[in-house]
Symmetry: D2
């Protein structure tokens, strides 16, 4: 089982990343930090005559990695009660590759297992629920299994260390991943 | 009452835009089509020593317009069960300007009235609800009044014309705006 | 197409009932006012050896009517951000009859079309959304088609008459039902 | 800190009760099993001239206990993607006592801390979210602090013992309650 973490934060060493590092501690894995790459927002050409055209950015490099893993951990801070713009832009582009015959996109995703790690400051265990529901619809649409999610409470760097409940859940995941 | 529509689609003349045009037909208004501008995703520097630094893109141009209107219509297609990445990137940057002393950001937003128009294809009147809830939390956070929303059902260009219920609601808004 | 309205309010002539009467004006239909009947909360005996036993109340009388209609309008005020206890007690008992061989419960429900009318006072177009999502899951579970919903804003008797948008939608439904 | 658990299940020794017993193991507390009492659904007389009238059932007995505790654990199985009818009927009656001058209802609730324990079988960590959101709105309305929630996955008696994550969270709560 190959594990990939996709980090959607625009900040290094943030709270979401801390929780994620707990979950995959001492586990072989790949990390994609979206802010390290140039990814353009989708241009919706589904209904144009010519369909989608090649985009000059880093997306396809990431795509190969993405499709090549079995377990995907989507790690995003809660920005404005949703996933970060960076992660949304990444996911929006799926619409293009669902239709790209060079990739076996839909079949590959339908075999992946999805995990979500998110942190926020404004009562995230409630206000983060629409985001969890959104991920639920996304994974359902592509057939990924939504295994579990962690919602941590934290704003300033390091604050997540006070959310014992979130930390413990990340450790549980870590135990589970070790035994895969 | 000055009306601004913010279009989050990556496609011109789409279904969301059609509904929006119904709502503001023959009404004086300003339109921002986000895909016409270069807007960078936020880099979260809230907790860095120096704070946010200037960003070389079109954001501040749009910001002046945004702050200068009383009624904001957020028009976004449902992409992956949420607002478009373009619109999310636009909203994420609010975090920067909430803290920018050159703008009276928070006070101005707290006087604005917000409307949301969105369309989607996969049972949007249910699967679009997390998006409406997210907008609810966003507007609540900045003190904007969430006046109303329209969720239309449509995927292909023109399909929205079959959603009589959404069209009628856009016409109701139009009547209301006329009498402001 | 036989239409049934199920009224979950504990109060006669309330706002939800007013909207419902608009929707079915001059349309042949049956009405069940739940508060007119004695309905016991479910006793969950799914996992007992003997299974469910007969319950001494009015439920089965209502059940025959319920199963014998094609379009069901669930009309409930928003009580504490959910359906009324009366309506919840009515729906909970489905668990019993799903397993009762005397009724063709599951197959019949899977052919029904569901509509929801609800009204509330505390920002119902947002705080009523979990209720709509709950109905979505309920109908999905039994295979009913969730056709549409109306969320009206009103607390005191008669207030619904100020919610033009809800009234118009009820009239739209009325037009539609007339042409069935 | 006086702890009260309110059990909404119609079944003894179910999965929700098992989780709850873990959370309050060796902790002094009071338990109300709603199915042991006769509680009538509310009759909404808020807008009648005479207001609410006395109801001949067990409610006021429970009410005194309810108001006399600091921490309330609402434990309900997920029935039809919501709280049990028994628990909904219990909460609906709050509308009556909010207005009853014999009780200091609103002030007392505004000092209480709320916890929710719920279990369900059909993907409860997603389909249970509207219920959590509903509780969020309820507690917000009366000013109770929504401390935390556990969503367990289980249908048949005993199945909850396989949900390690829910069990561990109940144990965390137990540690926390011990140190109050």
């Amino acid at each position: 089982m190959k594990i990939l973490t996709i980090l959607g934060s625009s900040r290094k060493d943030g709270n979401t990343e801390f929780l994620t590092s707990k979950a995959i501690k001492n586990i072989d894995h790949t990390t994609i930090r979206l802010s390290d790459y140039h990814i353009k927002p989708i241009t919706d050409l589904r209904h144009s005559k010519t369909g989608f055209s090649p985009v000059d950015d880093d997306y396809e490099k990431l795509l190969e990695q993405f499709l090549n893993h079995d377990i995907i951990i989507f790690s995003t801070p809660i920005y404005w009660f949703g996933m970060s713009g960076q992660m949304k832009v990444f996911i929006d582009r799926w619409s293009q590759y669902l239709r790209d015959e060079r990739y076996d996109f839909k079949r590959k995703l339908s075999r992946q297992k999805a995990y979500v790690i998110t942190t926020g400051g404004t009562d995230p265990k409630l206000t983060g629920l629409p985001l969890i529901q959104q991920f639920g619809h996304i994974f359902d649409f592509v057939g990924m299994t939504f295994e579990d999610y962690i919602i941590g409470q934290a704003v300033k760097p390091g604050e997540i260390q006070a959310d014992q409940s979130a930390l413990k859940k990340a450790e549980e995941w870590n135990e589970y991943f070790k035994n895969l």
